[in-house]
Amino acid sequence: MFLKTITFAGAFALLGSTAIAGCGISSGNVSILSNDFPAIQAVTSAAATCAGDGVTVETNLTKDHKDIMVAALTANPAQYSSVIVSNSTLVTLMNDGLLRPLDEMVAKYGAALNKNQLITVNGKVMAVAFMANAQHLFSRVDVLKAAGVDSIPATYEEVLAAAEKIRAADLMEYPVALNTKAGWNLAEEFVNMYMGTGADFFKPGTAEVAINNKHGVATLEMLKSLVAYSNPDYLTYDSNATQAEWEAGNLALATMWGSRGSAVLDDEGSTAEVVAGTVLSAAPSWGNGPRPASTLWWDGIAISTNVSDEDAEATFAALMNGISPEVVKANNDAAVWLVEGYMPSPASVGVAGTASGGAAPYPMIPFMGALHGAIGAEISDFLQGSESAEQALIDVEAAYTAAAKEQGFLK
């Protein structure tokens, strides 16, 4: 379904791609704040080519963008006219009313956009997505084969069985890795796994957390079974660490971000053997759950409220240039683009498969961030074996409730 949308989009690309000649702006200040990875670098550097003749373009690409974005956009005039947002950061900025609706600008400059790129909240376009991301399975088929496993695992139960075979065959002591660094990363693994059960995080229509149930316990047990096959240092493993371990040939089964796919499959930083054996596939499901245990993420363009209309328009036009089909064509393998003209590649089958398998997007709920933080702080005790799953979930709920009260979501 997802793949189809993308390829269909490609077929219709010609219809709209001529709408923007040059960048179509004559004046204005463009300043962009964003995360820092190859696909975004491509977008912002293409946007920067609009500079000149009364138009200035400045970019700040940093991993710490989410720490400064609220303060930077609260200022009036805002420090940045645009932030490249994702599911979770969009909500944070919208909570404070720092983003402006884009409907008019989409009508004026967005003829080349797909309908599914428009992120609408309550009927208003608040962001324009340009790429998709999700955590999914990376497998080393050569190692699996050597251990007598012929097919790529489709469920986490199969991942565990395969890991046991690899260990039993003395191929690797610690074949499995997830991004399990205590804090945000570990919480994301919990969220992914819990998503696979199909259960809700909150009581419907309220901010009351509801993860202390059999699904929550099963989720924790599954995570614990998986980290039993991970290097003992797993609580320090973030995306950079797992990618490095993978490229060093120390892993056979890992759940990593789709955006790492092209970096793993390129000919840098690893041996030909590892690259040739690496296959990306959809995130596994587990426990007869209804959908892959992963969350879908998008990255997209959002424009500040506190800038002049002129700057806002110039920014939008410049960024439309940044995500034009030409840019996507030149950087096809850098991401799973949602833009017309994108051709699926081996690096994108994991994300596409996860989406077509019916994985849910990361919840765009204002209090999800507080729960995410509570999970990250409280479940490592359980994984280290110093408390029960039930106690860990009670702790998460208590930590969340205190935090949500402080933010005014609960009384």
Binding site: D64, K66, D67, T89, V91, M94, N95, G97, N116, Q117, L118, I119, T120, V121, N122, G123, A129, A132, A182, G183, W184, G205, A207, N231, P232, D233, L235, T236, D238, L296, W298, A355, A360, P361, M364, I365, P366, G369, A370, H372, G373, G376, A377, S380, D381, Q384, E387, Q391, D395, A398, A399, T401, A402, A403, K405, E406, Q407, G408, F409, K411
Partner: protein, 343 residues
């Protein structure tokens, strides 16, 4: 100095201290007593690349009105201080009632984030501070006896751990103790245990952080003591030698008493610094096994997508109180010494 002259002399620093120390602390304290406005929520339909879904969203206009009326948020008194993520009065009360035995109570208390952080912070402070003073003194004595020519380079090299930025220094150590790093693999060889990992067990993580703390701070104590050693009166030393005092006795009865005021100074600074232990926890990715009060503040402000200013403010005020309590004995002592001298 006349009072009037003294006043004009001290005024500039008084103003800067007021502006940059006192006022921010007051603002933090005020903020810690407020929480955000009750969020006005509406259910809306959100659509994106992966379909549409009905979800709760903040009603920005209504919330903006509330914010306009009371920009600081809702007054919460000491509610944030006593909630579960800080002093946890209710949870501690329950633990007192329900626990069988002191150890059970301790383990229940250590399950709460604030007390877990406090436990590490205090252990770190009380182990690292004396060790820093001890090693600083030993190094200073050693360097002081070196021939002049190699003294300079030795001092420079001994100061390196302090010169390196804490975040960078601890990152370097973090990579060295990795199972693939030089220290980590050496330890695995020595103990003949291929699975030994300093990052995996809480106990080893604590030890590692404290070793780092001593490594980083000992040069500070060293350089202060070394400077002090240059002022040890030669006459007294000579007299002691003539009396037949051994090297140990000279150190114990002449050098040490002479350096006592410096020791108090280092003690003060180190108690404050170590109570605020922070960088190594971030660099060593140690938060699963060890957290500190400063780390909690950091995590409230940048660890999640939304910032918890009230919570961070409350922990900051508690940290200030903690530093105050730690320093009181030392300050009382200094005050007494000072008064005696005046008399």
């Amino acid at each position: 100095m006349k009072n009037r002259t003294f006043f004009w002399f001290i005024l500039p620093s008084l103003i800067t201290m007021l502006l940059f120390i006192a006022l921010p602390i007051v603002s933090v304290a005020v903020q810690s007593m407020h929480i955000e406005h009750e969020a006005v929520m509406v259910e809306v339909e959100n659509c994106g690349p992966f379909g549409c879904k009905k979800e709760l969203q903040i009603d920005v206009e209504e919330t903006a009105k509330l914010k306009e009326e009371r920009p600081l948020g809702q007054f919460n008194g000491i509610g944030t201080y006593t909630n579960r993520n800080h002093l946890a009065f209710i949870e501690i009360g329950l633990a007192l009632q329900s626990s069988n035995g002191f150890l059970d109570f301790i383990s229940k208390a250590l399950n709460l984030p604030f007390y877990r952080a406090l436990a590490f912070t205090l252990t770190y402070t009380f182990i690292v501070t004396p060790l820093v003073i001890f090693f600083g003194f030993i190094i200073a004595l050693g360097v002081n006896t070196l021939p002049k020519r190699i003294k300079g380079p030795t001092i420079f090299i001994s100061l390196l751990p302090m010169i390196v930025t804490p975040l960078i220094g601890s990152l370097i150590l973090f990579w060295m103790i990795d199972a693939n790093g030089i220290l980590g693999s050496a330890l695995q060889r020595i103990f003949d245990d291929p699975n030994l990992s300093l990052k995996a067990s809480p106990a080893l993580t604590w030890i590692m952080l404290m070793v780092y703390g001593v490594w980083h701070s000992a040069p500070f104590a060293f350089i202060v003591f070394y400077a002090g050693l240059q002022t040890v009166p030669g006459d007294t030393m000579e007299a002691a030698m003539i009396d037949g005092a051994s090297r140990w006795e000279r150190t114990r009865y002449v050098v040490l008493p002479h350096l006592m005021p410096l020791t108090v100074f280092i003690l003060l600074i180190q108690l404050m610094d170590n109570f605020r232990v922070f960088e190594p926890i971030v660099s060593f990715s140690a938060q699963a096994s060890a957290t500190s009060l400063s780390w909690i503040i950091y995590n409230d402000l940048v660890g999640t997508e939304s910032q918890f200013f009230g919570s961070a403010g409350a922990t900051s005020v508690l940290t200030i109180i903690g530093v105050g309590i730690l320093l009181i004995p030392v300050l009382i002592r200094t005050w007494r010494d000072f008064n005696q001298k005046v008399v």
